[in-house]
Amino acid sequence: MTPERRAGAPEPLVELPPEESTLEATALTRLPSGRGFLEPHRLALMAVAAVLVFCAAWFMRWDWLPTYAGALVSGVGVTLLMLVSTALLGFVLAVPIGLVQVTGPWWLSLPAQGFCTIIRGTPLLLQLWLLYYGLGSLFPQFPEIRQSFLWPYLREAWPYGVAALTFSFAAYEGEVMRGAFAGVPRGELEAARAYGMSRWKLFWRIWLPRAVHRALPTLNGETVLQLKATPLVATITVIDVYAVISKIRQVTYLTYEPLLLLALIYLILTALLVAGFRYFENRIPNRSA
C-alpha cells in the first residue's frame, strides 16, 4: 500500500487483488478525523444525535443494565480473547500458506490453494457448524479419542470456534501473504544470495520481514473483519458478548435496547482496534514514503 492511498487520494483499485480492494470498504480502517467538528452543520447534526441518545436513554428500558454488567464485561473479554488468539494463530498459519504457494512444490502449493479457495468460498457460519456439529459428533464414536487427554477440550465449544476463526483468518491473510512474498523485489533476494546467505538465513532476514512489512497495512482491515466475525461463535454455545446480549434479550423480552448496546460495544471495540493499529503503524518506519 502506497502512502498516497492512505491520504485518501484515488485508490488504484484495478491494480489490487479484489480482496484488498474491498478491505477498506467492508471494514473500518480509519477513524473519522477530528477536524471540522465545529462547523455549524456538524453542531446541528450533533445536537440531533444528542437528542436521539437522550431519547434512547430516557424512554427505553435500561434497568437490566446493572444486573448484567459483570456478564457483559466477561463477554467482552471472551470476544477479545477469541479475536486476539485467532488473529495471531491465523497469521502464523498464513505465512506458510502464502509461502508454499509462491515457492513450494506442487504437492504443498495445491493443498494450500485448495484450502484458501474452500474457506473463502463458503460462509464462516457453515464452517463453524460443520466443525462443531459435524466433526464434533464424529469424535465420540471413536473410543481412542474419547479416552484421550484431548477429550476434556474437545467436549468444550471454544476449541471449535477458535479453529474455525483461525482457518478463516489464515485463508484470507494467506492470500495476502502470497502476494506479499511474490512482491518482494527479486533483486533484494539475489543480492542476499550474492552475499552468501544460506536459504534459511535469506528467508528469515530478508524475505519474511519484507513480506510481512508489505502485508502489514492489510492487517488492520483483516483484524476488524475478524472482530466482526467473532459473534458467530455464540451460535455454538461460546458465551461471548453477543451471547450475553442474546440472553438478556430472551430474559427481558426487549428487542432494541440490548441490540443497540451491542452495536455500541462493537463500535467502541472497532474504534479501539483502529486507534491501536494507527499507533503502531506510526511507529513502524516506512521506507517507501
Binding site: P10, L16, T22, P123, L126, W129, T255, A263, L267
Partner: protein, 239 residues
C-alpha cells in the same frame, strides 16, 4: 465404519432425500443475494454520489452510515435491521394511516442484506468515481450535459472498470452473508441444511453438501466475473 456412515440416498432430490430442500434453500439464498446486491448497488450509487457531491449534511450522514456498517458485525446489523427495520416500517405506515404492512421474510432479508451491501458499495463506488479523471466530467458539463446525462454517459461508464473488481468481491461477500439470515430463522441454504442435518443426524454429510453448493456458487460467480471484467477492460492497455 466410514462407508456405512454415509447414506448418499439422503441427498436424493425427491423425498425421502433432502436434495430438493437444499436446492430450494439455495434458491432462497440466491434470491436474497440478487435482491440485496441490487438494492445495495442502488443505495451505494446514491451513497457514493452523496458522499462526493452532496451537501455537507448529506456527506456527514453518509459518513455515519458507512462508518456504522463497517464497524459493527453483520450479524448484529442483521438482527437490528430485521426487527427494527420492519417494526419501524410498520409504525410508519400505521402513522400514515395505511395500517400494518405485511413484510415477507424475503423482503426483510433483501432489505437487511441490501442496507449492509449499500454501505460497502458506497465505499467501492466512491473510490471508482474518484478514479475517473476530473477533466472528463468537466468536459461533459462544459458541453451542457445535464447532471443525469453526465452520470449516464460519462461517470458511470468510465468508473465501471475501476469499480468491477471491488463490486465482484462484494457479490461474493453478499452470497456468503446470506447465510447469516439463518440466525433469524429465514429458510435459506444454511438453515435448511441444519434442519436436514438435525432431523437425519447426518451432520457431516449435509454440511459438506451445502459447502459444495456454496463453493460451486462462488466458482461459477468467479467465471462470470472474469468474463465481465475482460469485456469491461476492452481497449485498456494490457498490464
Amino acid at each position: 465404519m466410514a462407508a456405512d456412515l454415509i447414506n448418499w440416498g439422503l441427498l436424493a432430490l425427491e423425498p425421502p432425500g433432502w436434495g430438493g430442500v437444499l436446492l430450494g434453500g439455495l434458491m432462497n439464498s440466491l434470491k436474497i443475494a440478487f435482491g440485496g446486491y441490487a438494492l445495495g448497488l442502488v443505495l451505494g450509487t446514491g451513497g457514493a454520489f452523496g458522499k462526493l457531491y452532496g451537501g455537507p449534511v448529506t456527506r456527514d450522514l453518509m459518513e455515519v452510515y458507512t462508518t456504522l456498517v463497517r464497524a459493527v458485525p453483520e450479524l448484529v446489523l442483521i438482527l437490528l435491521l430485521y426487527y427494527a427495520g420492519t417494526d419501524l416500517l410498520n409504525r410508519l405506515s400505521a402513522a400514515l394511516g395505511y395500517g400494518s404492512v405485511d413484510i415477507s421474510g424475503l423482503a426483510a432479508g433483501i432489505f437487511v442484506i441490501g442496507v449492509v451491501q449499500g454501505a460497502y458499495s458506497t465505499e467501492v463506488l466512491r473510490g471508482a468515481i474518484l478514479a475517473v479523471p476530473a477533466g472528463q466530467i468537466e468536459a461533459a458539463r462544459a458541453f451542457g450535459m445535464s447532471p443525469l446525462m453526465v452520470l449516464r454517459r460519462v461517470t458511470l461508464p468510465a468508473m465501471l472498470p475501476h469499480a468491477l473488481p471491488g463490486l465482484s468481491n462484494l457479490w461474493l461477500i453478499c452470497t456468503k452473508d446470506t447465510a447469516l439470515l439463518a440466525v433469524v430463522g429465514f429458510s435459506e441454504l444454511t438453515l435448511v441444511t441444519r434442519q436436514a442435518a438435525g432431523t437425519t443426524k447426518a451432520y457431516m454429510l449435509f454440511f459438506c453438501a451445502a459447502g459444495v453448493l456454496y463453493l460451486l456458487l462462488t466458482l461459477a460467480s468467479t467465471l462470470v466475473i472474469r468474463f465481465i471484467e475482460a469485456r469491461a477492460r476492452r481497449g485498456w492497455v494490457a498490464r
